[in-house]
């Protein structure tokens, strides 16, 4: 599958709140843990060889699951390949927790769910659609899931 690699590499250079050297092990049988610079940018997890500027690889963090493996490690599994785990070893329990948390929240779909929740909750409490003032009420990406009805009035825009 083709993808715009240059632009993705450029994205990996953007500032990130979460970047650290972690132990990382791929999903293949022979893989061993190697130190990598792991960097979270939007919904991508980039990993670099520690002395290199260009990333070795990127993981799109949609449709994935994050599990605690032991006190200091976690794994990422993609829903379409449940047997394949990417393992990450942190330096502390705290760091492990922070990374797991950040990765879970790094998906576009996670943000969308939160937005829908806030939107419906604000609408429930105030009777107003908070997106209306920005003129974006009708955007598909902000819609409540298919077929579900709102309870109060003024729901046509939702």
């Amino acid at each position: 599958m083709r993808f715009n690699e240059k632009e993705l590499v450029f994205l990996s250079r953007q500032p990130s709140e979460m970047a650290a050297e972690l132990g990382m092990k791929g999903h293949k049988k022979g893989d061993v843990i190697k130190r990598r610079l792991v960097k979270l940018v939007v919904n991508f997890l980039f990993y670099f060889r520690t002395d290199e500027e260009e990333p070795m690889g990127a993981l799109l963090l949609e449709q994935c699951r994050v599990d605690r493996e032991d006190r200091q490690s976690f794994s990422i599994t993609f829903l379409d390949e449940a047997e394949r785990k990417y393992l990450f070893e942190c330096d502390s329990e705290e760091q492990c927790r922070e990374w797991m948390d950040s990765i879970i929240k790094a998906s576009y779909e996670f943000m969308r769910k939160n937005l829908i929740f806030y939107r419906t909750e604000i609408h429930r409490l105030t009777g107003k659609d908070p997106l209306e003032q920005y003129g974006i009420s009708d955007e598909t990406r902000f819609q409540v899931s298919n077929g579900l009805q709102m309870t109060s009035g003024e729901t046509s825009s939702l």
């Binding site: 715009n4 070795m56 309870t151």
Partner: protein, 294 residues
């Protein structure tokens, strides 16, 4: 650079609803003819397929950091996806109609993760403001209300017409009306008597349009608010909040406080983002429950 391509392709075809789909012409890189492809926009990823019913995408354009512009082209309804990075490829596209072009340009220019994050943060902030207004209205609202009641009583003594209007308002409970009528202060008082959740709408600057049935919900909200102030480890389990139709509502995010990582519900707890971390996990489950019961 490696990419988890199989999982990315899976994201394209899995059952999460796409943000936009349709046919577009895409100019090839080497073969500079325009090829008609089926496009699927999901989040910040623009996938393209050979045919509408193809199982796997031919490719994907990661849209983060792009700008979308109309462009000069021999093709009608043409636009371009551009990136800020050096030697970036310009993706030249063409739609089949003017309306389609405008719709795609709009959808693509708002497709970034950063944009979604901005909107979420803004709504999060708004909800927090509303919750804090509710919180402020609930607890200190009670002593205020008793002062008002006292005032209402003394006022109604002044003119008989206002006292009768206030009593009729209480019984008919015209709370469907969002705005507080300003012509009669006695009327306003009695509306406040029953709108226990927030005091007067004017006070908080928030319009409450809840029907009388919601008073129970509001009272529950009040008690749950008190529970938060009181106990550190009630978590969310002991606290019940009910929406208008008596359905259990998802937990209300507690107020912002200092920065620590204790029980998420205690006021001594964390900055909002830490609370939200915990809260965020609950959101999905509770939301599903709540929506299912609508």
């Amino acid at each position: 650079m490696k990419l988890n391509e199989r999982s990315v392709a899976h994201y394209a075809t899995c059952d999460s609803p796409p943000d936009k789909t349709g046919f577009l012409f895409k100019k090839g890189e080497r073969n500079t003819a325009y090829h008609r492809r089926w496009f699927v926009l999901k989040g910040n990823m623009l996938f393209y397929f050979e045919e509408r019913d193809s199982r796997e995408p031919i490719g994907v354009i990661v849209l983060e950091g792009c700008t979308v512009e109309l462009c000069e082209s021999a093709e009608e309804f043409a636009f371009a996806i551009k990136f800020d990075c050096p030697k970036a490829r310009v993706y030249k596209m063409a739609a089949e109609t003017q309306a389609a072009m405008e719709s795609w340009v709009k959808a693509l220019s708002r497709a970034s993760f950063d944009y979604m994050r901005l909107v979420v943060k803004e709504l999060e902030r708004q909800l927090e403001e509303i919750q804090e207004a509710t919180g402020n209205g609930n607890v200190p609202g009670r002593p205020k209300l008793s002062r008002r009641n006292h005032m209402a009583r003394s006022k109604s003594g002044v003119s008989s017409s206002s006292s009768s209007s206030s009593s009729s308002l209480s019984s008919t409970s015209a709370f469907g009306v969002p705005s507080v009528p300003s012509h009669s202060s006695a009327q306003k008082m009695s509306q406040d008597e029953v709108q226990l959740n927030s005091g007067s709408s004017k006070e908080n600057g928030v319009t409450w349009s809840k029907p009388p049935a919601l008073v129970n919900g509001a009272l529950d909200g009040a008690s749950s608010c008190a529970a938060w102030e009181g106990s550190a480890d009630s978590g969310n389990n002991g606290v019940k909040r009910y929406a208008a139709d008596g359905v259990r509502a998802p937990p209300v995010p507690p107020r912002r406080r200092g920065a620590s990582l204790e029980s998420p519900v205690s006021p001594g707890t964390g900055c909002f983002s830490k609370l939200h971390d915990w809260y965020g996990k609950e959101v999905e489950d509770l939301r599903v429950q709540w929506l299912q019961s609508q």
